[in-house]
C-alpha cells in the first residue's frame, strides 16, 4: 500500500499549529497546567488548549455550537489546511474527498451542559436542541460542513485508538477507489464525563504525568484537534511522507485493562510492519501510547521488547499535552511526522527516573537523528489497538 500524506496539522496544549508544537517539543516545555476548569474540583493536571471557549464558529455553523466543534474549527484554521483542501477540491472535486474523524466523546460536553438546564418536563431546553451535535457523529458532520467536502463522511469512536484507526479506513477507501482522497483527523475536548470518569477508575494523577518513570502515578487528560490529507500518490507529487502500513487488533481481554502480555499491541505492531513490508530494525522511531498509567507503560514496554531489538528508539509525548483520548492518534501521528521532518526524536518528558524494571528502555532526551521509517501506537478501552507506519515519500 502506498498512500501519500499531504498537508497535516495539530492543535493541543503543546501548541496551536505545527510551529508552536515543535517549539514546545524542542524546548522540552510542557503545555500541561493545574486543573482550572470551571465546575471541576479534581486535583489533577490537564492539557487545555488556550482560548477554545472564545472561538466563534462561522455564521452558517453556529447551530453546531459545542466546545468540541470550536476546537475542531480552531484546528482547521492552522497550517494552511483549509487552503490545501480548497486546492484539492478544485483539482478532483469535493465529492471525491471523504471525511473520517476520530473521537472518544464527540460533543458530550454540550450534552452535559444541556442536562444542567433540563425543562420541568425533563426535555432538553430549546437552546440545546441540536440534533447533529448530541450524537457520536458530531465531529465528522461538523468537519464535512465546515470544509465543504462532499464524499462519504464517518466518525470512528473506538476510545483512544479512534484517530489512528481513521488512517486504516481511509487507506481502504482510497485503495478501493471509493474516493481519491480523505481528510482524516480527530477531535476530543475536555469534559466532565472524561475527567470524573477516569477519576472513578483511579487513573488520574494529581501530578504532572510521568510516562515510563518509576514514580508515574496516572494520566493527565488533554484535548486536541488534528488533521491530515491522505490521497492517491499521483495526486500529491510533492508529498513528503507516505502511510506505509497500519495494524488493527483487539485484546479480547478486559474493558479497561490492557492484555497482561500486550497481545493485542504486539499484533497491531506486527501487522503494521507486515503491511509496510518492513522488518523491525527498519523502524527508527516509535511514538508510544505511553499514557503514564502503571499498566499501560509496563505492558507497552513488554510489547516493544517482543517486537523490536533495541535498535529502535521509542518515546512518549503525553507529558507535553496530556492524553487527548480520541484525538491522541492524530496528534501523535502528526508529532511523528514532525519528528521525521526535523530529524529529531523527542525524548520522553518528565521521565527523570526511568522505570528500572521496564522491558524496553525509552528515550528520555531529545536526540537529533534522521528518521526514515517511524511508527505511532494508540491503544484504547475495550482492548482496541492501532499502530501506524510512516515513511519518507522520496525514499
Amino acid at each position: 500500500m502506498r498512500i501519500a500524506i499531504g498537508t497535516y496539522t495539530a492543535t493541543s496544549a503543546a501548541g496551536i499549529g505545527l510551529a508552536a508544537m515543535w517549539e514546545s517539543l524542542s524546548a522540552r516545555r510542557t503545555g500541561l497546567r493545574r486543573n482550572d476548569i470551571d465546575g471541576c474540583d479534581l486535583d489533577t493536571w490537564i492539557g487545555r488548549v488556550d482560548g477554545v471557549e472564545d472561538v466563534s464558529l462561522p455564521s452558517q455553523l453556529t447551530h453546531l455550537q459545542s466546545r468540541n466543534n470550536q476546537l475542531a474549527w480552531l484546528g482547521l484554521q492552522q497550517d494552511g489546511m483549509l487552503e490545501s483542501l480548497t486546492r484539492l477540491k478544485d483539482q478532483i472535486g469535493a465529492e471525491r474527498i471523504g471525511v473520517i474523524m476520530g473521537t472518544s466523546t464527540s460533543s458530550i460536553g454540550r450534552t452535559e451542559e444541556a442536562y444542567t438546564q433540563l425543562l420541568p418536563s425533563g426535555f432538553m431546553s430549546e437552546a440545546f436542541r441540536q440534533p447533529q451535535v448530541h450524537n457520536l457523529h458530531s465531529p465528522g458532520h461538523f468537519v464535512a460542513e465546515a470544509t465543504g467536502l462532499a464524499g462519504p463522511s464517518m466518525t470512528v469512536s473506538t476510545a483512544c485508538s479512534s484517530s489512528a484507526k481513521v488512517f486504516a479506513s481511509a487507506s481502504r477507501w482510497i485503495n478501493h477507489g471509493l474516493v481519491d482522497a480523505v481528510l482524516v483527523g480527530g477531535i476530543d475536548s475536555l469534559c466532565m464525563s472524561i475527567l470524573y470518569g477516569f477519576n472513578s477508575l483511579e487513573l488520574v494523577s494529581a501530578n504532572m504525568c510521568r510516562p515510563f518513570d518509576r514514580r508515574r502515578d496516572g494520566i493527565n487528560i488533554g484535548e486536541g484537534a488534528g488533521y491530515a490529507i491522505l490521497a492517491r500518490e499521483d495526486l500529491l507529487p510533492d508529498a513528503r511522507f507516505r502511510l506505509l502500513g497500519y495494524g488493527e487488533s483487539a485484546d479480547a481481554y478486559h474493558m479497561s485493562h490492557p492484555h497482561p502480555e500486550g497481545k493485542g499491541a504486539v499484533m497491531a505492531m506486527g501487522q503494521a510492519l507486515e503491511r509496510a513490508g518492513l522488518s523491525p530494525d527498519d523502524i527508527d522511531y516509535v511514538n508510544l501510547h505511553g499514557t503514564a498509567s502503571q499498566a499501560n507503560d509496563r505492558i507497552e514496554a513488554q510489547a516493544l521488547a517482543q517486537t523490536f531489538t533495541g535498535h529502535t528508539q521509542a518515546s512518549s509525548t503525553k507529558a507535553w499535552a496530556g492524553h487527548a483520548l480520541g484525538a491522541a492518534g492524530i496528534l501523535e501521528a502528526v508529532t511523528t511526522l514532525e519528528a521525521m521532518t526535523h530529524g529529531m526524536m523527542p525524548g520522553t518528558l518528565n521521565c527523570d527516573e526511568p522505570e528500572p524494571d521496564s522491558a524496553y528502555a525509552v528515550l528520555t532526551d531529545n536526540v537529533e537523528r534522521p528518521i526514515r521509517h517511524a511508527m505511532s501506537n494508540s491503544f484504547g478501552f475495550g482492548g482496541n489497538n492501532a499502530a501506524l507506519v510512516f515513511g519518507q515519500a522520496h525514499d
Partner: protein
C-alpha cells in the same frame, strides 16, 4: 463498483428475536410476548455487568455468525450506532449534573462507543480489527459501505452490526423512538463462503436518494430509530430473486445496491 456476498444475518427487537421471527413479522405476524434478551455468548458473570446496548449487539452478532456458519474469532467487526448507549449517556449526564464524584467506574468504561465490540471480542476471543462508527442519518449506509470495503480490500469476513436503543426523556425533542432495534450481517468477499445466500453489487453516485420506505412490520412504529433504516435491506435479503435499492450517503450522494438472493439465510437457532 463493490461486489460482496451476504453469508449471515441477525436481528432483535422486542417484537422479534430471530431472522425467522422477523420474516414472520414481514408477513404480518407479531409475537404476542416481548422478546427477552439473554445472549449466551457472554459468560454469565460478564453478562451481569454488560449494559443493554452490549446485550443487544452481542445477541445479533452471535445470530449472524451462527447463520453464516463461521467461527466468530475469525471475523473483523464494524459496529454502528448514532446514539450508542443512550441509557449510559443519560446516567453519566445526570450524575455529573448532581454528584460528579459518584460516577460509576463500570458505567464509565461501558460508555465507550466500542463497548459492544469489546465485550464481543472478549466473549469470542476475536483478536481481529474491531471498529465502532457513526454517521448520523447515514449510519446504516456507512455501516454497510465500511464493512463491504473492508471485506473486499482485506479479503476477510466482516461482521457488521447496526443498532439503536429506545430514546429517553431528555433527548425526545431531537430523537424520539420507543423501539429498540439491533441488526447484524456477515459480509464476505464474493465466492469465499459456502453459506453465502445473496450477492450484492454496490455502486456510489452523486444522485440524491433518501432511504426506501420501511417495510410493513405490523403495528411497530420505528419513528426516529436510525437502525430501522437497515430494515429495507433486510427485507430484500428475505426476498428471493433480484432487487435494487438506494441508500443515502449524504444529502447529495447515495449508493445503489443490486441484490441477488439465491438461497435462504440459515436459521440462526436450530
Amino acid at each position: 463498483m463493490t461486489e460482496f456476498d451476504v453469508a449471515g444475518v441477525g436481528v432483535w427487537s422486542e417484537h422479534f428475536s430471530s431472522w425467522e421471527q422477523f420474516c414472520s413479522v414481514l408477513a404480518g405476524d407479531v409475537s404476542p410476548e416481548p422478546c427477552a434478551l439473554k445472549p449466551e455468548t457472554i459468560p454469565a458473570n460478564e453478562r451481569r455487568r454488560a449494559p443493554l446496548s452490549v446485550k443487544m449487539a452481542v445477541e445479533v452478532m452471535d445470530q449472524a455468525c451462527r447463520s453464516a456458519g463461521l467461527e466468530p474469532a475469525g471475523l473483523a467487526t464494524v459496529f454502528a450506532s448514532v446514539y450508542g448507549d443512550i441509557q449510559i449517556t443519560d446516567y453519566m449526564c445526570r450524575t455529573l449534573a448532581s454528584a460528579p464524584r459518584a460516577v460509576s467506574p463500570t458505567k464509565f468504561h461501558n460508555s465507550v462507543h466500542n463497548a459492544s465490540t469489546g465485550y464481543w471480542s472478549m466473549a469470542t476471543q476475536a483478536h481481529g480489527p474491531a471498529n465502532a462508527i457513526s454517521a448520523y442519518s447515514c449510519s446504516a449506509s456507512m455501516a454497510l459501505l465500511e464493512g463491504a470495503v473492508q471485506a473486499v480490500e482485506e479479503g476477510i469476513p466482516v461482521l457488521v452490526a447496526m443498532q439503536e436503543m429506545a430514546s429517553l426523556t431528555a433527548f425526545k425533542p431531537i430523537y424520539d423512538t420507543e423501539q429498540a432495534l439491533s441488526t447484524a450481517l456477515v459480509l464476505v468477499p464474493p465466492g469465499s463462503c459456502a453459506s453465502a445466500f445473496a450477492t450484492v453489487r454496490l455502486a456510489t453516485s452523486g444522485d440524491s436518494h433518501d432511504y426506501p420506505d420501511l417495510p410493513a412490520t405490523a403495528d411497530i412504529d420505528w419513528s426516529d430509530n436510525f437502525a430501522a433504516k437497515m430494515l429495507p435491506f433486510l427485507q430484500v435479503l428475505a426476498t428471493p430473486g433480484e432487487s435494487r435499492l438506494h441508500m443515502p450517503l449524504s444529502a447529495h450522494s447515495s449508493m445503489s445496491l443490486d441484490v441477488t438472493v439465491h438461497g435462504a439465510a440459515e436459521q440462526a437457532r436450530a
